[in-house]
Amino acid sequence: MFNTSLKQLSTQLAEKKISSIELTTEFLKRIKQSNPEYNAFVTVNEDISLAQAKAADQMIAAGNAQPLTGIPIAQKDIFCAKGWLTTCGSKMLANFVSPYDAGVIERFNQAGAVNIGKTNMDEFAMGSSNETSYYGIVKNPWDTAAVPGGSSGGAACAVAARLAPAATGTDTGGSIRQPAALCGISGIKPTYGLVSRYGMIAFASSLDQGGPMAKSAEDLALLLNVMVGFDPRDSTSLQREAEDYARDLEKPLAGLRIGLPKEYFAEGMSSDVARAIEAALNEYRKLGAQTVDVSLPNASLSIPVYYVLAPAEASSNLSRFDGVRYGHRAASYTDLADMYRKSRAQGFGAEVKRRILIGTYVLSHGYYDAYYLKAQKLRRLIAQDFAQAYEQCDVIMGPTTPTVAFNLGEKSGDPIQMYLSDIYTSAANLTGMPAMSIPIGFGDKNRPIGLHIIGNYFKEAQMLNVAHQYQQVTDWHLRSPV
């Protein structure tokens, strides 16, 4: 049951071969067994999950089922869900029970999906290893000495370890794709503006985008069909005609032009990753695709630009966590300034503080032009690079990460090394383009490797087609560590 695709689960539920209660109970059982080791979930609430499952079974019985009705979904703890503890991986929100539902949660609820629990994550989504979570590290189910990636590390672990059929993530610089790659699952960050950010706790507003994480591209398509949609409560949400992201899955790939940016195949990529990418590209050539060399001359600027803009926005977004209205407040303080200082000093972890400091600095009087404004200009140059590349190709491919999962603790003392994990992924956030990662094999220490597929704006259906066709001729996505 736990290896079954969403489409099959949906059919079995519709044909009443299983009930949502059975399915939910099974996954709750698996979580109970394995979570003490993996720590993928921060909160599990059996009562709410089972009540939702019961309601889903009634929907199915009444003939009102939609494709995801009754299917358990693990929700990243960045999404506010009514009645659920919503911590965002931080001590700051250790006591925050959300009184409202995020747009994404609402859409899953309306689809009749079951919230199976809230997944662990790097604190406020700031991290690439899930080691900055106040709620403890998450282990990579393929190798418990390795990190699962981050910030959606709990979600990636939950799907890989089959603790949930699918999960949600959010991606500000690679936070869906990097953990998906490191845990050997599929994940997609849609075009900025497709998935509502309402109720998704903001890290860097102009970069944050929610998206699904699952076992296969086909599953991702079904999840996107639920997650994507205009939300008037989010001013950056796009009003577009609804589309079926599964519509092109079966299209043959003959004639597909795959762009290979020379900058992504330069030094920095480890040899095991390079070998796996080459093998995957050969599969694509066999499927009738052709590869073309393209160039993204400003690719190397992505990380510096990202680490100016994301902290700048974060420093302001995190100001609301001041201990005044909710969240952590220091037990004792002498005056207002002291209350702010102590509450925030105690409530935030080191990485969050580092980024608030960087962000505050780059926005400061006298530095704004040199950092923030300059970074915004470079951001446009990076987008121009991609626009030019797409004149020669349909999708761009490369590695999702330079190496397989690193060991727990290996980079946590070296922020620069940690930041370089996002070297291939952050450009898609800066440009707002859709990008995904799919598993394509194993490298060093038998740890998973991901292929990064970047598409032009709103080309999700095509990218899912590209991923799905590969998954029809390979079985990496079916491999599981359990």
């Binding site: 506010c80 965002c88 009184p99 309402y198 507003s205 001013s235 100001s319």
Partner: protein, 479 residues
């Protein structure tokens, strides 16, 4: 040395939208604390702002009324600082590219016209309120006001006296109410002024160091605070000192300003474009729609009253201080087109007097323009005297006889005696009874004439038409 005072004003006007600028919560004043603060106003994790188009429309309305440029795109920016009644830790405001850029306002001071240039007017959200009383050793936070839409209107330093500053503030106050974007209620904080004051030697161009006086919520305080502050600065400079740039507060009880914070303590607000709000595109079509729906503006009406109704400039400016007053006047003037000045006198005199006494606005005036016009017609056609008209007006104010002037005149017997033969008869009687005074008058004592008039009016209980009495008496005495 002669000093010149230089003043610029920043006025926060609360826009009259039903809901807040970035949330759907109500803006009504006076609700129990925190009952008008939704998850967005409380800045819960994950919430996002959505711009209220009504606030933008009002800002555009204002811009068009002062001949300003409407910027498109217009950008919202975050102004970052920590304060307990600022829930997000930043205020959404505008920095570069405000909705309204430039424009000007014409003011009248002592009969002279002057133009004050505007720098800009930008949209922003109000903060909540900190309540330091009633809580032992703690502060209370009321977020009802948080997110209330404000238009901050910034002038150039074009004013040279507190009188000019007050005239500007009053004209602006009249304008925002006139175009219906702000209720102008100063007690409730709907119209708040900050004054930037500096002084310089008369005849020099370089601006002196300025101090900003915050939160002046009455025209009187505005005037007194500026006067005090200018005096303070001049004294320091004359003693050889220098002015420190700072923000000051006006203490009305002591009638003085005092330091709130110096420039060195000023926050670095770290303004940057709010990534939650897209640049605001304002189409030419939208601007045209708003322009075509604009009412005739006070300045235009004022000019029309001067040229069309031949009113003195002073009367015209008083009548156009508020749209309700102007509308009242115009409704009356329609009934009495040849007697606009009489209408103006009555509105500025008796009507305003009664309104002030009862503490009500002209919009709620118990006597309608038509009712008052009906009364004035009776003065014009000689039915009653001006003095009797005041008696009728008082009765109308009290609501007697459905405020029907004719009915009141009838009931009170206030009709004038305008029949020449009737008046002649009474004049003859009075002359016969006062031979001495007649003789006095004829021997050149002019005062005797008035005494005789008094006798005649007394005999008619004041009802005789004074003009006729005058003419007939004169004729009889000169015979």
């Amino acid at each position: 040395m002669q000093w010149e005072i230089v003043i610029g004003l920043e006025v926060h006007t609360q826009l009259s939208t039903q809901s807040k600028i970035f949330s759907g919560a109500a803006t009504a004043y006076g609700a129990p604390p925190n009952t008008q603060a939704c998850v967005i106003d409380l800045a819960l994790p994950g919430v996002l702002p959505v711009l209220n188009q009504g606030a933008v429309e009002r800002a555009i309305k204002f811009g068009l009324s002062v001949g300003a440029k409407i910027n498109s795109p217009s950008i919202f920016a975050r102004k970052n600082y920590f304060y307990p009644d600022l829930p997000k830790g930043y205020q959404i405001s505008q920095y570069e590219s405000p909705v309204v850029q430039g424009g000007s306002i014409t003011i009248q001071v002592d009969g002279t016209e002057k133009t004050v240039r505007l720098t800009r007017a930008h949209l922003e959200e109000d903060a909540g309120k900190s309540l330091h009383e009633d809580f032992h050793g703690m502060s209370g936070i009321d977020l009802n006001r948080a997110g209330t839409p404000l238009l901050e209107i910034v002038s150039e330093p074009d004013m040279r006296s507190s009188a000019e500053a007050v005239a500007y503030a009053k004209t602006l106050h009249g304008l925002v109410r006139w175009i219906g974007i702000c209720d102008g209620n100063m007690q409730e904080g709907s119209f708040r002024c900050d004054a930037n004051v500096s002084v310089r030697p008369l005849g020099t161009d370089k601006l002196g160091t300025r101090c900003e006086i915050k939160n002046l919520n009455s025209f009187r305080f505005l005037e007194k605070a500026i006067d005090y502050e200018a005096r303070r600065q001049i004294e320091i400079l004359e003693d050889g000192g220098t002015i420190r740039q700072e923000t000051r507060l006006y203490d009305a009880n002591k009638d003085e300003t005092r330091t709130m914070r110096s420039k060195e303590d000023a926050n670095d607000y770290r303004y940057f474009p709010d990534p939650d709000l897209l640049p605001l595109e304002i189409s030419a079509r939208w601007i045209d729609q708003i322009r075509s729906a604009l009412p005739e503006l006070p300045q235009a009406r004022c000019n029309r009253y001067i040229t069309g109704f031949a009113l003195p400039a002073y009367d015209a400016s008083v009548l156009t201080a508020s749209r309700e007053t102007a509308d009242y006047f115009e409704a009356m003037a329609q009934e009495l087109p040849e007697h606009a000045k009489l209408c103006a006198n009555w509105i500025m005199g008796d009507v305003n007097g009664q309104l002030n006494k009862d503490g009500i606005d002209i919009g709620d005036c118990p006597v309608s323009p038509a009712q008052l016009a009906a009364l004035l017609k009776r003065i014009n056609d000689g039915t009653i005297s001006g003095k009797a008209a005041k008696t009728v007006f008082d009765s109308m104010w009290q609501g007697e006889l459905d405020r029907n002037a004719d009915a009141i005149i009838e009931a009170k017997g206030l009709k004038q005696i305008s029949d020449d033969s009737a008046i002649e008869k009474i004049v003859d009687q009075v002359l016969a009874a006062n031979a001495q005074q007649v003789a006095d008058y004829r021997s050149g004592k002019e005062k005797a004439f008035n005494s005789l008039i008094g006798q005649i009016m007394k005999a008619t209980q004041g009802k005789a038409n004074p003009a006729q009495v005058n003419a007939i008496l004169k004729k009889k005495l000169d015979q």
